[in-house]
Symmetry: C3
Subunit: 161 residues, 3 copies
């Protein structure tokens, strides 16, 4: 088998992973969300302006799967917020690096938000910048950096991006 | 051939089908739309709130290709409505079940609507929940359930989702 | 190798190309943008109404890679405009024709725009209608026609679609 079919297979696998990730969040199965990450992962949500200038300030930053689990408890039990639906639309995955067991990939995303008794609206648009590793059970995010374009968020970001 | 390449091929075929379906509607070739369905199909458009609670009330529900053809007549000849353009953006297809000749699949969708002399806007976002069978001429929808997030639709849904 | 796997490979290659094209624009690497086109290319941005009626009037029309390079100079140095971020979300590529070395393909696109201190918004939605040829270095656009639905653009189109 030459390199190209391998690349097709990898693209296919990542596209599936990304779709499963979105479905998990959009269907509000938040307790499954940390399982998409490695144990010592990084998950960040950062404004594009900061990311482009190399400024480290992130809206959200977690540094382990355990912290993601804490976040899920906050979302589902602690944080006071008006609930809303999310709907992820993700463009084709771009593989930007393959090195032994580590894959770098990116994809544009758009999240449409729907609050109760309001029309659906553009909530958050940006780019996933990811580092993935293959573990028992499939591909996992070692890093997922969600770089969002909007400096002005219509409301605070409660659920995972 | 092992299972994985088969899965790639299937994903590829469904992705093509979904894109063709969207193109058919977005290009207003409505008379071709019923051909995407089996003769004894189900096509439903249902609010997420009802779907999630198991409530059967749907905004639209048709139970055969003949009913879809009736709908096309209504859209193109009977229903009084201000015309609008639709533009479908569909995320990666997720295959959720493969069983003999029947495939279950899902995909997130966003429809951008453009009315005359108005800017484009988010119209309807949600999830296709589909059951597909392979017939003479390719894959067809045995069921297409369009579960939309917005309880508040900016206007009545005229064209297919 | 039979026809179907070839079609998968081609779809995969075009999907990658389209994603790279979007990334180039969204990341503001405008000087790389003309390299996606052949030397004697056509790049057009045209309202759907005109396209559907066969009217030739386009919002933008360029007829060579040299003209695209001129456009890049205009964008980056000459045109007076308030800067904005673009984020492309592109649906699955539809291959509509394969003839020797020439491929015809289409895809639905949505561009989300973010202006400084404003929320992200739907900017431009439509369909790419493309003619592609394989050259040294990969696939290039011989023609890219961006047919957009909105007659009413929230502001002038500055950056590539």
């Amino acid at each position: 088998m030459n390199a190209a079919p391998d690349r097709y297979a990898l693209t296919h696998e990542l596209q599936s992973l990304y779709a499963d990730y979105c479905a998990c969040i959009d269907e509000r199965r938040y307790s499954d969300w940390p399982d998409f990450f490695t144990e010592d992962c990084v998950y960040k949500v950062i404004p594009r302006e900061n990311h482009d200038r190399g400024l480290p300030l992130a809206t959200l930053a977690f540094e382990s799967r355990a912290m993601l689990k804490d976040r899920v408890v906050a979302i589902t039990q602690t944080l006071f917020h008006a609930p809303y639906y999310q709907r992820h639309i993700v463009s084709a995955v771009r593989i930007t690096g393959v090195d032994d067991e580590v894959v770098k990939a990116e994809a544009n995303y758009l999240i449409v938000r729907t609050k109760q008794n309001e029309p659906s609206e553009v909530f958050n648009a940006g780019r996933y910048i990811d580092v993935l590793v293959r573990e028992q059970g499939g591909w996992r995010f070692k890093e997922r950096c969600c770089v969002f374009d909007s400096e002005l968020i219509p409301n605070s970001i409660i659920y995972p991006i």
